[in-house]
Amino acid sequence: MTIGVKKVARPERMSFGESLYLLEIMKGLAVTMGHFLHNIAHNKEIPTIEYPEVRRVMPARFRGCHRLMKRPNGAPRCVACYMCATACPAKCITIVAGESPDPGVEKYPVRFDIDMLRCVFCGQCVEACPCDAIRMDTGWYTPPEDTREKLIYTIDGLLEK
């Protein structure tokens, strides 16, 4: 059954039948039984999404968990410029830069940690990145974990996504 907003007219005074209350209860019972039988007969139409097994398909521009992009040779595209860490209002990005072994690239991130417990999913890091190395297009919101450490995403995990 579809869910929608229904305008219910509320009269100033109740009619005799309405003030008896019992008749109105009967009508209400008919409504709930209607829903009950309809949902039994059309089980598939219940709008519930069976969450862990079935996931809602997020819109294309949904800002979800981050991922780091790779160069064609597999190295991280990130040049450790600290633009994202600077732009971040929640100060959740920690970068440690190192000298890249590739002569064509100056720096690369030795560490690139995002603390998902602090992240506010604003997307400023993505805006700030000069080389499109960080994106938030995984379509995932932060999954639940049982320790805080698991929610600090490191560079390996971020590159894999």
């Binding site: 059954m1 869910i3 019992l22 209860i25 209400g28 019972l29 409504v31 709930t32 039984m33 829903h35 009950f36 949902n39 039994i40 219940i46 709008p47 519930t48 069976e50």
Partner: protein, 367 residues
């Protein structure tokens, strides 16, 4: 031999009916959750699984019971320890005791002895029922008071005033039935309902006492603390009402008490107003329809039909409880009190007066 037989029969009756009631309680917790879900366009419980089977969540009561058993049995520091532990017992015991007087089938003859299918055929029947079910309020009040916390206290207070108010109209609404059937013994009331009114209608309580039925139904809902009268629990305002501070199996005892009240209430509604184990137009030898048509049936079939009729009625009223709960919103507190004292009480008195008048006229007119 004979005393042993009697003891065996007594134990068997208790075991069978108790198992039936508790089984229905377990099923009702599932029906309530699933029914609520389907009425609200949800799916309801469907996660507990055994061997990969969920079967629409029927294993959830089992999972709940296991969970309650293994939870920490917590007692708040400032609670009155003795009364705090006594309260769930006081809630559960009267609920279970009330099943004793409900006849769940016609008397049967085994080995030359007539056995009433009823745990105890008390001559005070209904009075016993009211006396015991009136005690249920102690459990709620004790729980509310001994928890030493504000929400349970408010829940307990509300429950006390509500149950006492509705006890009055509940007792009075049943008075008309007693006048019509001239007995407080439940087995005799059921037997009386087997007769036909004007030779067409079964003389069920709901036919001779329609107003009494509506009043009793309403009062029963208020007594069992069910929506629309669930102010003692009032989740949206009192957390969980009188059992807020209870955890573990003590909480589940309150829950069980509530559902036993529901099942026993349904059984009593079926017994008093819908003929108990009487099947319409079914006499001892088979069907006897008003037009003079009769269908003979073996005694065993009659017995099965009658017990089945009792179970069917009880299950229907259990479902009605659930159905009403997910249809009617909770009353405001002053509305509950107004309905109890200003509507139900005068109506039940009127019902007694009219019933008396009609009985007098029938008596004088020689109908």
């Amino acid at each position: 031999m004979t005393p042993l037989f009697d003891i065996g029969v007594a134990v068997a009756r208790i075991a069978v009916f108790f198992a039936f009631v508790l089984g229905l309680v377990v099923v009702m917790t599932w029906v309530e959750r699933k029914g609520a879900a389907y009425m609200q366009d949800r799916r309801g419980p469907n996660r507990a699984r055994i061997l990969g089977l969920t079967l629409g969540g029927v294993f959830h009561p089992l999972a709940d019971a296991l969970k309650f058993l293994f939870k920490e049995d917590f007692i708040p520091d400032n609670a009155h320890r003795f009364f705090y532990q006594l309260a769930p017992m006081f809630a559960l015991a009267p609920a279970i005791l009330t099943i004793a007087v409900v006849p769940f089938g016609p008397p049967v003859t085994i080995a030359g002895k007539t056995i009433a299918l009823q745990i105890a055929d008390l001559n005070v029947g209904i009075l016993y029922l009211f006396a015991i079910s009136g005690m249920a309020v102690y459990g709620v009040v004790l729980a509310g008071w001994s928890s030493n916390s504000k929400y349970p206290l408010l829940g307990g207070l509300r429950s006390a005033s509500q149950m006492i108010s509705y006890e009055v109209s509940m007792g009075l609404s049943i008075m008309g039935m007693l006048m019509v059937f001239q007995s407080v013994r439940l087995s005799e009331i059921v037997l009386g309902q087997g007769e036909l009114l004007f030779g067409i209608l079964p003389k069920w309580g709901v036919v001779v006492q329609p107003l009494g039925f509506v009043l009793f139904l309403t009062a029963l809902y208020a007594e069992a603390n069910r929506t629309p009268f669930d102010l003692p629990e009032g989740e949206s305002e009192l957390v969980a009402g009188y059992h807020t501070e209870y955890a573990s199996f003590k909480f589940s005892m309150f829950m069980m008490a509530e559902y036993i009240h529901l099942v026993v209430g349904s059984a009593i509604l079926a017994t008093l107003f819908f003929g108990g184990w009487q099947f319409p137009y079914l006499a001892d030898k088979g069907f006897l329809f008003p037009g003079g048509i009769s269908v003979a049936l073996p005694a065993a079939a009659v017995l099965v039909l009658r017990i089945g009729s009792f179970i069917g009625k009880t299950v229907f009223f259990c479902w009605l409880y659930v159905w009403v709960r997910w249809t009617v919103p909770r009353f405001r507190y002053d509305q509950v009190m107004r309905l109890g004292w200003k509507v139900m009480l005068p109506l039940s008195l009127l019902n007694i007066f009219v019933t008396g008048l009609v009985l007098l006229l029938i008596d004088k007119g020689g109908f």
